[in-house]
Symmetry: C2
Subunit: 151 residues, 2 copies
């Protein structure tokens, strides 16, 4: 099996997973800390999805750490299929969450008065972080999908 950088069990994959988790945590912090996000459906959706991405990415980061540092290969076909499906589902969900957050934030900004300048900036940053997390998640999903037929 050739080593495809970015696929499950490589150091590039570890970096991608850590990036996803970090951006998801940043998005969650910007959204949650001292903000009443409960009143907006889109923001609740974002918080839910980011709360799903963090454990998923951290678990796979641990798998990568085992594979990279302890040299224990972690690629069984069944496991890789589950990882690919989970990655794709989470990547679609995080795209949906970040886009709905961005839409709602732009509406709040345009209507004025609903969020002060600082609060709106935080919503925007949260949407941007979720978008970055989606991008890394999509990259992981593509690399793993590419690897799938060769396992």
């Amino acid at each position: 099996m050739e080593e495809l950088p970015g696929a499950l069990g490589t150091s590039a994959s570890l970096a991608l997973r850590l990036g996803q988790a970090i951006f998801a945590v940043a998005s969650l912090l910007f959204m949650c800390l001292e903000v009443e996000f409960y009143s907006y459906t889109a923001f609740c959706f974002l918080v839910t999805i980011m709360g799903l991405i963090i454990p998923w990415s951290l678990t796979l980061a641990v798998v990568d750490v085992f594979s990279v540092f302890i040299k224990r290969p972690a690629r069984q076909p069944g496991m890789l299929s589950i990882v690919v499906i989970g990655d794709w589902v989470l990547s679609f969900l995080s795209l949906a969450a970040s886009c709905s957050t961005a839409g709602v934030t732009s509406l709040l900004l345009a209507s004025g008065g609903f969020c002060g300048g600082k609060l709106c900036t935080r919503y925007r940053l949260s949407a941007a972080m979720a978008f970055l997390s989606w991008f890394l998640s999509l990259t992981s999903a593509l690399f793993n999908l590419w690897l799938l037929p060769s396992v």
Copy 2:
């Protein structure tokens, strides 16, 4: 080359393309007719993306018609790659557009007063149609991606 139902040049693909175009037209009609959608960024985005999906799907529907009824195969590797890339990009964009529309609509509904009952229903229907169009577009993209290595 085996016949994969749903891939470019089959009657299932023709049905998928027509479905995409019909749902996109429905979404556009619900959004545009006698409604001031210009004031919301998310709605403008939806209108733009649906306006891109309609010609794309109709063009590929014509290709399918040629392939199915006139028996002229339309699968060159280069062409299929372009179709797959376009399908994926449009499917991501339409997911983003439908989700941001849904987020904004739910916010408008919750805040009340910004849209009457009938107007909000139309926004919702538009988002639902865009979502269905996304689903069919993703199906096409998956089938064509599956076919890509065998061409």
